[in-house]
């Protein structure tokens, strides 16, 4: 190593505490800004170049650098996003908080033209502006550049595997393997695009379902996780729960209703309209069952699932599914266990007294 490079390396060793202060400041600013703007990223990481790595770089092209600040990746920060359009959103945030050196920043996503595929990443060379960070003991921190890399999870996967091959540039890679890597880069670009489209379409679907639920157009809405969650905001079981609670003047403990979605779909309810009918048709029996069960007790606390639980029981019995239907219901709710047969038998006997059971098709 020449004397100039050795001087730069020694300067770097002496400056390490400053780089650590700077790294913490950059990461704090970046993470706070990402979070404040409601973005969720896969990761946000940083590294300070090791002395060994810098020595290697200086060995190769030490004369290229007049001062340490000419080496722009001594501090490297990387933000990995889930979706390709979020790379640009992170870049916009970075432009807002950092001073960007546009002469040295490069959008490697645009390097390949329209017919080649390879490394895809957006690299900004940044500095922390004094308006956002001031350290009187280390004022030079605002002059030190750092590299901010932004790319998607899939772009990162490709870059990591490429890096693992040990090659630094495409010209070093044997042609047949270079073609394989390029094909994979193309494939991952398509996957990134598809993930982005799915997310955009899902967002649109959810907005549409929300609007339909709000308008009460239940017959047109398929029963699924999104529609169920929106429908639950209307608290469709609260009236029945309150009626059941009034039996013993009970407190209602709120619990998650999610496990019931699979059961409702298993009961062949296909739309929110079916779910509305299910509530209307079986509420009275569901209430009677609860009255029979807890009416003679001093139990004054019930779960917010009591209404839907009894509705399912009443619905199954009204539609002739009998004992087997109840066993199926308990298997779905609690997982298969020997006790479920006994549960079903007990509930069946109670329901018999209430004339809920029309005809047991399985009997």
């Amino acid at each position: 190593m020449d004397a100039h490079s050795e001087m730069l390396l020694n300067q770097f060793k002496d400056s390490l505490p400053k780089y650590k202060i700077m790294r913490d400041a950059v990461m704090k600013l970046l993470k706070e800004t990402i979070s404040k703007n409601g973005l969720f990223v896969s990761s946000c990481s940083s590294r300070i170049k090791t002395e060994k790595s810098l020595a290697g770089k200086l060995e190769l092209k030490g004369l290229k650098y007049r001062s340490l600040n000419d080496i722009t990746d001594l501090l490297g920060v990387r933000v990995i996003t889930f979706y390709s359009n979020e790379v640009d959103k992170i870049a916009a945030l970075a432009e807002r908080i950092f001073d960007i050196d546009w002469t040295k920043s490069v959008d490697k996503r645009k390097m390949y033209g329209s017919d080649r595929f390879g490394y895809m990443s957006l690299h900004y060379i940044c500095r922390i502006p004094k308006s956002l960070y001031k350290d009187p003991e280390n004022p030079e921190i605002n002059e030190i550049p750092f590299e901010l890399q932004m790319r998607t999870v899939l772009q990162h996967a490709w870059a990591s595997i490429y890096h693992d091959t040990g090659y630094k540039t495409d010209v070093e890679v044997p042609t047949e393997y270079l073609r394989g890597l390029a094909r994979l880069a193309g494939l991952l670009e398509i996957a990134d695009e598809e993930f982005k489209n799915i997310r955009t379409d899902l967002g649109e679907y959810r907005r549409r379902i929300r609007a339909l639920v709000k308008n009460g157009s239940f017959k047109d809405i398929p029963l699924n996780g999104d529609s169920f969650a929106n429908y639950m905001e209307l608290e469709p079981f609260s009236k029945l729960n309150e009626k059941i609670a009034s039996i013993n003047n009970a407190e209602i403990e709120q619990v998650s209703i999610r496990p019931y979605l699979e059961i409702l779909i298993g009961m062949q309810l296909k739309t929110l309209g079916d779910l509305e009918d299910f509530i209307k048709e079986s509420s009275e029996y569901a209430y009677q069952l609860a009255q029979h069960q807890i009416g003679g007790t001093d139990l004054d606390i019930i779960s917010s699932n009591i209404g839907i639980q009894n509705l399912c029981i009443a619905h199954l019995l009204k539609h002739g599914h009998g004992l087997k239907g109840l066993e199926w219901f308990y298997d779905q709710l609690y997982g298969k266990q020997p006790r479920n047969a006994q549960r079903a038998k007990r509930t069946y006997q109670q329901a018999k007294k209430l004339a809920i059971i029309k005809e047991d098709l399985n009997a």
Partner: protein, 98 residues
């Protein structure tokens, strides 16, 4: 009510005997407040529990909430009468009962 306690590392087993009702539930509440710190696995053994009232149910639900934050809770050896209480109040699906 008698509460027998078995503690090993981060596991706590409470064997409940007798009646868990309005008059005895403060005893269980006190025991849980005293013992749950650092516990990752709580087992409530109800083998010899004869009766469970709303007051007892509230203590069990409160213990479940605490354990949701710091580990897991299991209820075992539940007799038919007490299982019926869990079933008809609608809590059986949020508790892990073996």
């Amino acid at each position: 009510m008698i509460i027998e306690k078995e503690a090993k590392d981060e596991e706590l087993i409470l064997n409940l005997k007798g009646r868990l009702d309005t008059s005895t539930s403060p005893q269980l509440d006190e025991e849980l407040k005293k013992s749950l710190s650092g516990v990752k696995s709580l087992i409530l053994n109800l083998k010899e529990l004869e009766y469970l009232s709303s007051a007892g149910l509230r203590i069990i639900l409160s213990a479940q909430k605490t354990m949701n934050r710091q580990g897991k809770m299991k209820i075992c050896n539940v007799n038919d009468a007490i299982m019926e209480v869990f079933d008809m109040t609608g809590f059986a699906d949020i508790l892990t009962i073996e």
